[in-house]
């Protein structure tokens, strides 16, 4: 592993402050309810051991997910995911009408838009603090098991190191109980850019 525990802890705190400052207010405004959050951990994981972040619960549920890739002065991938059932509730709330069957068309766009907004809020916070110029990709949307999502994100991220730095964040709607998860991935060489 190339990242020290100290740097991982610092990165955890820095990301936490960005999330508190920008991401939570953004989500709270969209969902019209207070949001609690929990930055579970930031760890460096060998790519070959990525199974470590796939819990049994996540392995069993089909998830709706949005993936956004950030490039520029900093390179970061963000996967936002929640159980497919809950994503229908989220889409219904955003669109103001119930979602009957499968998520299609405008309903999937609305979930993608949430991913877009939450990523933008985070990179906005990073930019304000560091002055970095960061661009985000268009959001990609998928409905799959968590294992497939992680595999696709890690592959697409095109990381050339043997390890990845992964931060696991949980955002929860206080009134609705809606649980949205975010996975942030970075190359270990990028960590120093945020923990100066």
């Amino acid at each position: 592993m190339s990242t020290s525990c100290n740097d991982l802890q610092k990165l955890n705190s820095v990301l936490d402050s960005f999330i508190v400052r920008k991401t939570i207010p953004s989500l709270s405004s969209i969902l019209e309810e207070p949001i609690t959050h929990f930055l579970r951990n930031t760890q460096e994981i060998p790519i070959i051991n990525l199974d470590l972040i796939i819990s049994d619960l996540e392995e069993m549920n089909v998830m709706s997910a949005v993936y956004v890739k950030c490039a520029g002065d900093i390179h970061m991938g963000m996967l936002l995911y929640l159980p497919e059932k809950e994503s229908k509730t989220l889409a219904a709330k955003l669109l103001g009408k119930p979602i009957s069957n499968e998520l299609t068309g405008i309903a999937t766009s609305s979930i993608s838009e949430i991913g877009n907004i939450l990523t933008a809020s985070l990179i906005n916070a990073i930019s304000i603090d560091t002055g970095y110029k960061i661009c985000s990709s268009v959001p990609g949307y998928a409905v799959e098991f968590f294992r497939t999502l992680v595999e696709a994100v890690v592959s697409d991220f095109g990381n050339e190191s043997d390890t990845l730095v992964v931060s696991n964040i949980e955002l929860c709607g206080v009134n609705s109980g809606m649980d949205i998860h975010m996975l942030l991935i970075q190359d270990p060489s990028e960590v120093k850019k945020l923990v100066i």
Partner: protein
Amino acid sequence: MNRVIEIKMGGLEIITDETEELKTFVGSCVAICLFDFVSKVAGMAHVMLPKKSDGTKFAGKNDVGKYADEALSYMVNDMVKKGADPKRIKAKMAGGATIFAHESETSLFNVGPRNIAFLKQILQENNIPLVSEDTGENFGRWVRFNLQSGEMLVTSNLKKFEKII
């Protein structure tokens, strides 16, 4: 009951024992399997990317299967050392899905199709026939190769299918 060897992301394994099977899970990555059915030598790699962007060679750690070009070259060499005849080596592959869809015209998130295209190109360059494949689409696959039968079992939990290629 066969012993199942699970291949992790970017990993690669070679087997010569018919009571062993190779297994991996792929989304946009590709499970490429080379085998010599006569000598009973097979290898499987979990390929994540076509090749290293900076042109440097594999550093010698655990992820020898990560890049298509390095994985194929390593697999053929190691299989030959273990008794395979290069002229008899055949290939099967699965995976290379495009998991994330988007509304833009750009070629974002297309690492799956790029992996497939590149693997086909280097198989052709190395005169290794691709005898069967289950690739593309938009879902993850469990892939299992049985050396005794030469069959590759492909299953999708999401689409609830199971096929032998």
